[in-house]
């Protein structure tokens, strides 16, 4: 976050650099079960973000000594491809990716019935193919669909979005430019059916009031994203039904 108003983020009509209103999320496309090897998989496009997630498990863990006797361990690997950002990123794991792997795991784990699979591992692999602001929340949204696709029992899907501040105004789903030049960024993840928040971070500056209002905005957007996740999961089976019944 550079924090300087070098770039005009809102025009005279209060529209953002990509033409959106303050409370509009970017277009989302989710594809389910596109990978053959993974137990569950999902691909998401959120604006210009392109992220693929594969889930393996529950499965035997390697090394064996990391398992826990009464539940599954959840491991998460968030990684950005070197070509995903403007200036090529080195292929190794940066500190940012290490932190995001942790917070994403902590955002998804509460949804999983880990006690049903003692001594096993559930592995979540996230690869960001193209990044444009909000990769961690898009990753969580896609990963939870991949977990469902794998048949792993969940309390609920987890949907996520970031709310931020641009030119003093609260805005939902910041793109890359807004993230870099805005005054604050607050990613939120939630299990919508249960009203339970599993991820909350912030940087920049928010007043107590802005925090409350922003959180409410995020929750509203999350409910919209949840609908899209549901639809994507059901679509696969509805399409097969259509195919079969039309062929008769």
């Amino acid at each position: 976050m550079t924090g300087k108003a070098l770039v005009k983020l809102l025009d005279e009509n209060g529209l953002r650099t990509d033409g959106r209103k303050l409370n509009e999320i970017r277009p989302i496309k989710i594809q389910v079960g596109l990978l053959k090897n993974a137990d569950g998989s999902a691909y998401i496009e959120l604006g210009r973000n392109k992220i693929i997630v594969a889930v393996y498990g529950p499965r035997e863990a390697h090394p064996r000594h990391v398992v826990i006797p009464d539940r599954a361990i959840v491991r998460c690997r968030y990684h950005m491809a070197p070509f995903s950002v403007e200036e090529r990123k080195s292929p190794g794991f940066s500190r940012r990716e290490i932190e995001l792997s942790k917070v994403i795991r902590e955002a998804l784990e509460p949804a999983i019935f880990i006690e049903e699979f003692p001594r096993t591992a559930i592995d979540i692999f996230i690869e960001v193919l193209e990044a444009d602001g909000g990769t961690r929340t898009a990753s969580i949204t896609a990963a939870s669909v991949a977990l469902a696709d794998a048949g792993i029992p969940l309390r609920d899907l987890v949907a996520a979005v970031a709310v931020g501040k641009i030119e003093g105004e609260l805005a939902i789903d910041l793109n890359g430019l807004e993230d870099q030049y805005g005054e604050g960024d607050m990613p939120v993840a939630m299990m919508p059916s249960l009203g339970q928040i599993t991820l909350l971070q912030a940087d920049g500056r928010f007043s107590g009031e802005e925090f409350e209002k922003g959180l409410k905005m995020a929750i509203e957007a999350i409910k919209k994203i949840y609908k899209i996740q549901k639809e994507a999961l059901k679509r696969k089976y509805i399409e097969i039904s259509k195919e079969v019944l039309e062929g008769e």
């Binding site: 899907l157 059901k234 079969v244």
Partner: protein, 244 residues
């Protein structure tokens, strides 16, 4: 456990939110009230939620059944499974049973007479890559599942074609009182051994018949959630027999 707050404020005593044969997703509320239920469902303050993607069925407005569309095989005592030998130890074999848990087959559960395991070359009995039909003798979560092949109809597999489907669809392949699997067996004249772990062995006198049986099974897996499956399978089997 996590503290849970309900977003909805429904006060009705018994309501169902879904229709029979509907595809539901994790976290989807199914019903509210004192219902009998079966399948991957959890209850919070009398509200029933689905844990997985599945098909929900409602019986007599009293019982809610959820059939998952995908899931791993969790070993259960008494289950017949088809396993693959993946390692040979000193006192037995490690067997892959298509589950998050690897199984153990001790020598004592292979040979009927007491033997000195140290004097045996176990690979001569069962080698890496061999397939077996086995039964799960015991499974507690703290230890790996234990197998036996000592009973009748169990043992090493020497011929046939193996097909693997998602374990949760096995009941659909069997059908009500075996109706579906018998349809395949009788129409194609093949023998079928069904492993609860998603592995099915088809043995016929003609590899073509085995292949057709495999296609039928895969078709059941894919279309399990679409009504009218039995008729479609009947039609498919008759078509392949006649030659399309």
């Amino acid at each position: 456990m996590y503290s849970i707050l309900e977003l909805s404020t429904e006060v009705e005593s018994m309501t169902v939110y879904v229709k029979s044969k509907q595809v539901v997703i994790p976290g989807e509320p199914l019903a509210y009230g004192r219902y009998e239920y079966q399948g991957p469902i959890y209850v919070v303050r009398q509200k029933l939620y689905s844990k997985v993607i599945g098909i929900v069925e409602i019986e007599d407005k009293k019982k809610i059944t959820l059939i998952p569309l995908k899931g791993k095989y969790m070993p259960k005592e008494g289950d017949v499974v088809i396993g693959k030998i993946v390692d040979i130890g000193i006192t037995g074999w490690t067997v892959d049973i298509n589950s998050p848990y690897k199984a153990m087959l001790p020598v004592s559960e292979v040979l009927s007479r007491p033997t000195d395991a140290a004097k045996l070359d176990l690979s001569k009995l069962l080698d890496i890559g061999d397939l077996i039909v086995a039964k799960i003798l015991a499974f507690e979560y703290t230890r790996d599942p234990l197998l036996t092949i000592k009973e009748s109809k169990l043992g090493k597999i020497t011929k046939g074609t193996l097909v693997e489907i998602t374990p949760v669809k096995i009941p659909r392949v069997i059908g009500k009182k075996g109706s579906m699997i018998n349809l395949i067996k009788n129409t194609l004249n093949v023998e079928v051994v069904i492993g609860k772990n998603g592995r099915i062995l088809v043995v016929g006198d003609d590899p073509l018949k085995e292949a057709w049986a495999v296609m039928a099974i895969k078709k059941i897996e894919k279309e399990a959630h679409v009504p009218g499956l039995t008729n479609r399978i009947k039609k498919f089997l008759n078509e392949v027999k006649r030659g399309r």
